[in-house]
């Protein structure tokens, strides 16, 4: 199945792209997908502890099982506002 991976801010700069199309096996969890992405882009590894994860625009637990066409976003700690 295919999963869309979205990347923002620091992660976008590390990967050099704002989005990836990921070929994934059926039954893959969010955690396993992130493992694969980090294995391909090792500079993301240092950000793992603070990484937020969303599936289809909602924060998602790492054990969530992905479905064909899901959009998974790897989000750095957010920093909206002006302070």
């Amino acid at each position: 199945m295919r999963i869309q991976v979205r990347l923002f801010a620091t992660y976008r700069e590390i990967v050099g792209s704002q989005g990836l199309t990921w070929s994934a096996r059926d039954g893959l969890t969010v955690r396993e997908l992130v493992d694969e992405v980090v294995a391909k882009y090792p500079r993301l590894a240092g950000h793992r502890d603070t990484m937020l994860l969303a599936v289809n625009h909602d924060f998602a637990p790492t054990d969530r099982i992905l479905q064909e066409g899901d959009e998974v976003a790897l989000l750095p700690p957010v920093s909206g506002g002006a302070r």
């Binding site: 979205r6 923002f8 801010a9 620091t10 937020l52 969303a54 625009h57 909602d58 924060f59 976003a73 989000l75 750095p76 700690p77 957010v78 920093s79 909206g80 506002g81 002006a82 302070r83």
Partner: protein
Amino acid sequence: MINVGRARIDLEAVVDSVRRDEVGAIVLFVGTVRSDAGVRALDYEVYRPMAIKSLTTLAERAKDKFGLTDMSIVHRLGRVPVGGDSVAIACAAVHRAEAFAACAWVMDEVKRIVPIWKTEIADRADRVRRRR
């Protein structure tokens, strides 16, 4: 009114969007870009569909939690110079206490869960850094 966009925020329009006859208090919070040393602007990046969704949910939660009549949140995207407005939140209620409390709570939540990131744009082109 919930929006994330590149246009300058029309503060009067944000206030008017929550005006009702039964409202006795409207609190407007405006976040502005501060002139920290060497900074001339902030660049905002957003995951738009998720940001709109989470701002909409936040506004609904705030209305329930504080008994607001209405609430609007508008956030800038792209480059905002020092002195410019980056976010505006208007909370309308029958009485002022709820409106003040809701505005503070919502701004904290925006900084905690809404997928928006900012990068400092420095006076010198070689100095760019992320700000939390």
